[in-house]
Structure formats: structure tokens, C-alpha cells
Subunit: 118 residues, 2 copies
């Protein structure tokens, strides 16, 4: 049982769209990721996914609308719901999702990234 | 899918040691709680528990040592591990734990509090 300082961990991340694992509990991982630009549309078959914005402005695009989040704001994307994250500037965020979750959802493609521990 | 602003939710909490549910995903709840003073020693039989400090200084006492956390720091307390939270001033924190988790762990006592949605 060691504490995890989110800013210390974020300072070790120097790329975008490559989630890093910082903790695990109950079959889920806590991940940190920095993003900039637009991701790909995807959904997760069985996994709900939590986003917590740590800095920057995150837009989660849904098929029928956008939700814009800032520091200290959370959204849960339920399984089955198509979404596409978009960051106009750099965004740092915390993700919580089951260990089985692939960043690109049901498809592997050029944006698929395996998460490693930091 | 609505966003959740942690500060807005915290401003609705005017008591201590009474967790409120702000989101759910994958059989877990995200809770917010304000605490001050010392809790009771307890453990959770099967549930791992995540604490994220949002403000204040949180001490998690374990049987063999203390871990002191500040804003932006996380700790995961694995199931089975006895712990006792302690806050010398007021602490606001986010908890993530399975829906089955009771705040006092394996025992119901005068500190047991049911979490409600806010």
C-alpha cells in the first residue's frame, strides 16, 4: 500500500493517447493519459468507462451531442455507447475501467495502445 | 450521460463521514465524502477501496504504519487489510468501491452510514 501522486505520475508521461496504469482494484485499472486532438469512434461491449479531467478541456463526442468537461469533472460512458474523445489542447485525465478494456473498444486499429504500469 | 462536477457535488455535503454516491460504473460506486477526526478500525472482506484526496490531509492508519495523503494523491486499500482513516482537519475525498461495500467494513456499528445519491 503506497500512495500514488497523480502529478508525479503525469510528469512521467511525454506522449499522447498512450494510457499508463497507476493502480488496480477489483478487476479494474486506474490509468492516466495525456491526449491532444481527436480519437476514433468506438464503444466497449461490456465495460463502463470513467473519465476524470485533471487539466485541460475534454470533449466527449456522442452520436447525438457533445459533453465538454474541465478539471474536476467526471463522466461515465456506459458500455455499448459510441463515443469519440476530442481535446483541442492537451488534456490530462484519469481513467477507470475494467482490466479487459481496450482503448479502441471492440476494434484493434492503428490507435490501439497497450497500457503499461508506471 | 451527464458530467459530474466534483466541487458542485461537494458543496452539497454539509456533514462528516456520510458518503454520497455521484456515479456508478461496472458494479461500483463513485462516492464523495467529507471527514474530520478519526474513524473506526475495519476491513472489507472482498472489496478493494480507492481513496482520492480532493482537499485536506488524510492519514490512513494501517496496523504497521501510517500513510499521509494530500490533494491529488490516491491510495488503494486491498480487501482484508485493516485500516482506520484519520483527518486532523476537514478532508474531502472521492471513494471508489464495489456497490456492496459498507463504510464500516465487516461490522455494522454506530459509524455505519448508508450512502445516498446526490
Amino acid at each position: 500500500m503506497r500512495k500514488i501522486n497523480l502529478n508525479d505520475k503525469l510528469s512521467q508521461i511525454h506522449d499522447h493517447w498512450h494510457p499508463r496504469i497507476v493502480a488496480e482494484l477489483n478487476d479494474s485499472y486506474v490509468k492516466l493519459v495525456k491526449i491532444e486532438g481527436e480519437f476514433v469512434w468506438h464503444h466497449h461491449e461490456t465495460e463502463d468507462e470513467l473519465f476524470l479531467v485533471l487539466s485541460g478541456e475534454l470533449t466527449i463526442q456522442f452520436r447525438d451531442r457533445d459533453v465538454v468537461l474541465h478539471e474536476g469533472e467526471i463522466i461515465v460512458v456506459p458500455h455499448g455507447v459510441e463515443h469519440c474523445p476530442l481535446a483541442r489542447g492537451e488534456v490530462s485525465m484519469l481513467l477507470l475501467e475494467p482490466k479487459s478494456t481496450l482503448n479502441t473498444g471492440t476494434e484493434r486499429n492503428e490507435r490501439t495502445a497497450e497500457a503499461e504500469w508506471i
